[in-house]
């Protein structure tokens, strides 16, 4: 009986052990299953962000190298976060860290690309806004540069304008709009030097006092011709035209060329300006007396020219070493299409021959700035 009681007791203990083992096994299975179920999320896919970041660096680098370097550093940090995430044990995994790192990269890259593109758009718009005007101004300056009175300073400015506009267009072609716009501004400024001189040269042709004086000379010359029935020559510098009158009527009109600084009133020798005033022919020359086919020498300087010259010297506007100049003629060999003489008035040889047939010593020659305004 004792034996049987002991046997039952062993059986119960064994059954208890089996139950405990089963419970523990189930517990372990549940735990493993639970842990497996709690496995961290997959590492985020970062290849797209990586490619976008490198694209951004390539865009940003030429214009903003410091920003490009910042993006590169953020990429390096994000790569470390990605590697850490991929290799971390499950209990340390945090997808958020990787995502946050790449989001920071993308945010910075987007901002930098946006800023570079905005600056590029702005420079391009500035270039597009300036280009037609600068081109127009340079073209206008090119038309003005051949005007009599333009000096080497204006020629230099013209060349600067041409170099600048050419360079601007070259830079714009490779997308460097900021520098291109700066060069356009420089071309514009250089062209303005030519414009200013041109305007200054032409200002005296709008001055009412000058216009009154020139008109008075012209009217007087024509009236004298009408009164005496004689011939007279009237030269309009601005229009570059020589008109021949007889008995107050126009009998011929020829295009004329002036001194290289012809629009300026002659003040002294070597200024290559054409005088203004009332003169007369003092000598008629033919080849070989003149190298310009035929020539009509006028009495420059007249009394008024001498007075002005003396006044200029006193005021210091004319150098004491300068002479008043002489040998102002109407001569042939013209037809250059530009002002080129040392102050004379040049006609083509054909026109000079025709004029020569009508005039002689003593014929009045009046040279005015302009009289037809």
């Amino acid at each position: 009986m004792q034996v049987s009681h002991s046997h039952r007791s062993d059986q119960e203990a064994a059954a208890g052990n089996r139950r405990r083992f089963s419970v523990r096994s189930i517990g372990a299975i549940v735990l493993v299953a639970g842990l497996a179920g709690c496995a961290r999320q997959a590492t985020p896919e970062v290849e797209g962000a990586r490619r976008a970041a490198y694209r951004a660096v390539a865009i940003v680098r030429p214009a903003a190298p410091a920003q490009a370097r910042l993006i590169e550093r953020l990429v390096a940090i994000a790569e470390i976060a990605t590697a850490a995430e991929a290799n971390a044990p499950w209990w340390e995994g945090s997808v958020g860290r990787t995502e946050a790192a790449w989001l920071r990269v993308m945010r910075t890259a987007n901002l930098a690309v946006g800023a570079v593109r905005a600056a590029d758009r702005s420079a391009r718009a500035r270039y597009a806004g300036l280009q037609p005007n600068a081109r127009h101004e340079v073209t206008r300056a090119l038309a003005e540069i051949n005007e009599a009175g333009m000096q080497s300073r204006e020629a230099a400015a013209m060349q600067r304008a041409l170099v600048s506009i050419s360079l601007a267009e070259k830079l714009a072609a490779v997308g460097r709009y900021q520098e291109a716009a700066d060069d356009l501004a420089s071309a514009h400024a250089s062209a303005a030097v030519v414009h200013r001189k041109w305007i200054a040269l032409h200002a005296r042709f709008s001055d009412p006092a000058n216009l009154r004086l020139w008109r008075a000379w012209a009217v007087q010359t024509i009236e004298d011709s009408r009164r005496t029935g004689g011939t007279a020559i009237l030269i309009d510098k601005l229009r570059r035209r020589l008109t021949l009158y007889r008995a107050g009527r126009v009998i011929a009109s020829y295009p004329a060329e002036l001194g290289a600084n012809g629009l300026v009133r002659k003040e002294h020798s070597g200024d290559r300006a054409t005088p203004e005033g009332r003169y007369h022919i003092v000598r008629a020359k033919r080849t070989p007396e003149t190298k310009y086919n035929k020539a009509l020498l006028i009495n420059y300087p007249n009394d008024e020219d001498r007075m002005r010259f003396a006044l200029g010297r006193r005021r210091g506007t004319i150098s004491h070493r300068a002479g008043i100049g002489n040998l102002i003629e109407i001569h042939g060999d013209g037809g250059e299409g530009q002002d080129w003489t040392d102050g004379c008035v040049a006609l083509t040889n054909e026109d000079m021959n025709r004029l020569f047939a009508h005039v002689g010593v003593g014929v009045p020659v009046t040279i005015v700035g302009t009289y037809d305004r």
Binding site: P65, A156, A260
Partner: protein, 206 residues
């Protein structure tokens, strides 16, 4: 029982010593790679050798990722063999970027210098031609030349100033800008030099 406890204690100590004593990151090589990358940056590789620089950057990122991966492992299981190879690759890539940066900058510099020298040579030639014509009475007396010479004189003066601008751009290491400006300038000077040569030939100037 007491014997077992001693055994476990010793084992733990050995493991701890092994964990601390082995598989350390190759710090010297890492520092070398970083220094190589810094040198590449200082040689302006990002500007003059962007592709090589990008490769060096990516190689360095791979090194950092591998180091991080090893760092994440239990100390006993860390191995830096692959990391050492990646570090060597990154160092090589950084050195290559540095060399490419130096070479790229040198090329840009030489190109700009050649363009500036060519523009200067053109200007010198034009100045010489102009001086010859100024000494040539036949040409100076010719009416079609007189006005042109005034203009050419102004042009040559302006080019002299522009050449000074080129040198300034070059000194500021704006090699692309200096080259573009020099080529543009030469394009302006050459036709003038050609005209002057024509005048000199026509009037048989010495």
């Amino acid at each position: 029982m007491r014997k077992n406890q001693v055994f476990v204690g010793v084992l733990l100590l050995v493991v701890a010593v092994m964990a601390v004593g082995c598989a350390k990151p190759p710090q010297q090589e890492i520092d070398g790679a970083k220094a190589a990358l810094t040198a590449a940056e200082q040689s302006e590789a990002p500007k003059y050798a962007a592709d090589a620089w990008d490769k060096a950057q990516q190689a360095m990122n791979a090194v950092n990722a591998e180091l991080e991966a090893q760092q994440a492992k239990f100390a006993l299981f860390r191995s830096y063999t692959k990391a050492k190879q990646l570090i060597a690759d990154a160092t090589n890539a950084a050195n290559a970027a540095k060399d490419a940066g130096i070479a790229g900058k040198e090329k840009a510099k030489n190109d700009a210098k050649a363009a500036i020298d060519a523009a200067k040579a053109s200007l010198d030639s034009a100045n010489t031609l102009f001086a010859d014509i100024e000494k040539c009475g036949r040409a100076k007396r010719a009416k079609e030349v007189r006005k042109d010479l005034e203009t050419v004189k102004g042009n040559l003066e302006s080019y002299k100033a522009t050449v000074a601008d080129l040198d300034s751009k070059f000194a500021k290491e704006d090699f692309f800008g200096a080259k573009a400006a020099a080529e543009t300038l030469k394009g302006q000077i050459d036709p003038i030099a050609s005209d002057l040569t024509g005048i000199k030939t026509k009037f048989k100037c010495k």
